[in-house]
């Protein structure tokens, strides 16, 4: 099944996330990842959703999302014309002998160590899903005590933006 990344621009209002997640669960759409945050415009939040499904599913996802009054616009981010990142924080158990081995791995992945104690390190890594999976695999031999990761966030490359495909009328008030 194909993965699709959608940037969903929504009204920055309480309850919007519940509308969206409720829609996904009741229509049986598969969310692989979801990340939400404010944008350059105070009244708009941006939700990056990764969905899996064939083209027909993707089309339904977009159409059903569009029916939500609080959804302003949806743009699809194709892998070759966009950049995307996920972030993970991984707490690894270490002792005097394994500490340097962990640090080597962290270097190779261009990750960072952001907290140090006698028996653990917290590693911060950003990158693709695959990169995070690789470092996780390598670190697991030392014992991962705890881990947290964000959903994927993505932007179009170059000067293109998600709002580019937004119909112009959307910017103007509608008159009855």
């Amino acid at each position: 099944m194909k993965r699709h990344t959608l940037a969903v621009l929504v009204e920055n209002k309480p309850g919007v996330l519940a509308r969206i997640s409720g829609l996904f669960s009741r229509r049986g759409f598969n969310i692989e990842s979801l990340a939400v945050g404010v944008t350059e415009k105070v009244d708009i939040s941006r939700i990056t959703i990764v969905v899996s499904g064939d083209d027909a599913v993707l089309e339904q996802v977009k159409k059903q999302l569009n029916k939500l009054i609080d959804v302003i616009h949806i743009a699809e981010l194709a892998p070759n014309s966009s950049v995307s990142r996920e972030l993970a924080l991984i707490k690894v158990g270490v002792d005097a002998t394994t500490r340097s081995m962990v640090m080597q791995i962290v270097d190779v992945f261009r990750a960072r160590i952001i907290d140090v104690s006698t028996d653990s390190l917290i590693v911060e890594v950003t990158g693709s899903k695959g990169k995070i999976a690789s470092i996780q695999r390598l670190l697991s031999q030392f014992g991962i005590k705890e881990m947290v990761r964000t959903g994927k966030v993505a932007l179009h490359r170059r000067s293109q933006t998600a709002a580019d495909t937004m119909p112009e009328e959307l910017q103007r008030p509608i008159e009855e």
Partner: protein, 556 residues
């Protein structure tokens, strides 16, 4: 400018929207609103259960084309609306539901009569609001009516905390709406219509499949012109019934599970399905993979999400049915239709496989035929079950908005309150609820509403002593093990009517049917007729669930 309360602002906003009637039931958190209603110009119809308020508003909306309004108190009042809201949602009925809520400071604390009604109704409303600031009241009312009634209509719920209704504001009703996330399609795509026209001109065996969207968009006369221009047979769904005259030679009745054989055969043999305001519901299509196997499909709908949701579509046309149909007719009217042979075939099917039943004893179908004969212009509402299907099969509608039923959700108990709402909206119409004995008991308390508010509707109960439709499935698929479907002699409906101050009549013989109907209608009072019909009559024909629609059973 003088300040007014949120409750006053609410009523004034409703007046601005032209609301003439509200169906509702009071309670603690809506006391300030009810106090304003006490001397407002808007009529309030007091129901006896909030579910009925929602159904009545729904029936009112379907009969008039205007947005129905209902109101309930917080907690149990609000949750009692839920079935009615879900019913309206499934049938795309414009509805504004107003619920009281506990004061803002108490929200989230499990206060007395608190229910998260915006959360509960999230999946069954087109949109909903929790009003947090009295200043927002006029804007939210304006938006709610706009959203409910435009595009694909649907219910909108507004939850108002009690203290918002007592706060004050300077009232100004907004002129403009600013909803950047809501843009119902305005025009239609002419390019798509041109392609549709090409398909139509090439088709030899077209079928127009018309749904409730045709009625919603007031497109009946445009549908008639298209059908007569291209000489295509028209099948109307349960929700589309009345969009095209059932008496017209091009009408082939209802498709699907209990549709006519000739509608189903026509669909299966067709080379082009022109779907308008219909949604390829499983009760229509049967097994989707074998639905209209030889046909290309044109799908006209105002809701883009309906296109391609169920059936594969060759030409999608997003837009208003009325605009699309009239343009389409314009694009094809120069050519001579080539459907002569096709119409001959359909005529043969009609002759060979008419809707029929054995005329012995008092048959439910006969009761419906009598209603049709005496009151062809009546507004019919139905309950759910066999009664609903017989009403659809044997009542010939000639006008839109005269057949009002819960198609999508199939809500028993819908028809009686919907009849009350329809009669309130169209007082000059004869309004008859074709009911089942089981369904009627789900909202029979509304007899009090009809009597108190003097709403003379007729309830024609096709009393078979069974939850008949379920019994039919048990007979066919569960070895006649009638588990929990026998409801014989549960109540004396005549006495029940009389207890409420309505008229109750009982009919056991076919020869008494018409006299009883006349007596009921002429009485100009709420009236129940208890038709004691053949108990085990089945709805026929029938396509078993999941079968292709030409795999049809004939039932005795």
């Amino acid at each position: 400018m003088a300040e007014i309360t949120g409750a006053e602002a609410l009523i004034e906003s409703l007046e601005n929207e032209g609301v003439e009637v509200i169906f509702g039931y009071p309670g603690g958190s809506v006391l300030p609103i009810y106090d304003e209603l006490y001397d407002a110009s808007i009529r309030h119809v007091l129901v006896r259960h909030e579910q009925a308020a929602a159904h009545a508003a729904d029936g009112y909306a379907q009969a008039t084309g205007r947005t129905g309004v209902c109101i309930a108190t917080s907690g149990p009042g609000a949750t009692n609306l839920v079935t009615g809201i879900a019913t309206a949602y499934m049938d795309s009925v414009p509805l504004v539901a107003i619920t009281g809520q506990v004061p803002r400071s108490l929200i989230g604390g499990d206060a007395f009569q608190e229910a998260d009604i915006t959360g509960i109704t999230l999946p069954i409303t087109k949109h909903n609001y929790l009003v947090k600031d009295v200043e927002d009241v006029p804007r939210i009312i304006k938006e709610a009516f706009y959203i409910a009634s435009t595009g694909r209509p649907g219910p909108v719920l507004i939850d108002i905390p009690k203290d918002v209704t007592t706060d004050t504001l300077e009232f100004r009703y907004p002129q403009k709406i600013n909803l950047r996330g809501y843009m119902p399609p305005k025009g239609v795509d002419v390019e798509q219509l041109r392609e549709a026209a090409q398909l139509i001109l090439r088709s030899e065996r077209p079928v127009i499949y018309a749904g409730g969207g045709v009625i919603i968009s007031n497109a009946s006369s445009e549908l008639l012109s298209l059908a007569e221009t291209i000489m295509a047979p028209v099948t109307t769904t349960l929700m589309g019934k009345g969009a095209f005259p059932d008496t017209h030679p091009l009408s082939i009745g209802m498709p699907g599970m209990h549709g006519t054989k000739y509608a189903n055969y026509a669909i299966q043999e067709s080379d082009l399905i022109i779907a308008v305001g219909a949604r390829f519901d499983d009760r229509v299509t049967g097994k989707l993979e074998s639905f209209a196997p030889n046909a290309k499909i044109i799908h006209i709908d105002i809701d883009p999400a309906e296109i391609g949701k169920n059936a594969r579509v060759d030409i999608p046309v997003v837009g208003d049915a009325r605009a699309a149909l009239s343009r389409l007719t314009g694009l094809v009217k120069e050519e001579q239709p080539r459907t002569g042979a096709w119409l001959d075939r359909i005529k043969k099917w009609k002759e060979e496989f008419p809707l029929q039943y054995k005329r012995d004893g008092l048959k439910p179908q006969y009761v419906v035929e009598c209603i049709n004969e005496l009151y062809p212009d009546a507004i019919i509402t139905t309950e759910v079950g066999q009664n609903q299907m017989w009403a659809a099969q044997y009542f010939n509608c000639t006008r839109p908005r005269t057949f009002i039923t819960s198609g999508g959700l199939g809500t028993m108990g819908y028809g009686f309150p919907a009849a009350i709402g329809a009669k309130v909206g169209v007082p000059d119409a004869t309004v008859i609820d074709i009911a089942g004995d089981g369904s009627f008991q789900m909202n029979s308390q509304e007899l009090a509403t009809a009597v108190q508010n003097n709403v003379p509707v007729v309830v024609a109960i096709l009393n078979n002593g069974y939850l008949g439709m379920v019994r039919q499935w048990q007979e066919l698929f569960f070895e006649r093990r009638y588990s929990a479907t026998i409801i014989e002699e549960s109540v004396d409906f005549v006495k029940l009517a009389e207890a409420y101050g309505a008229i109750g009549l009982r009919v056991k013989e076919p020869e008494d049917v018409k006299a009883a109907l006349k007596e009921a209608v002429d009485s100009s009072r709420p009236c129940i007729i208890d038709f004691i019909v053949e108990r085990t009559e089945n709805v026929s024909p029938m396509v078993p669930a999941g079968a292709a629609i030409n795999e049809i059973l004939d039932l005795e």
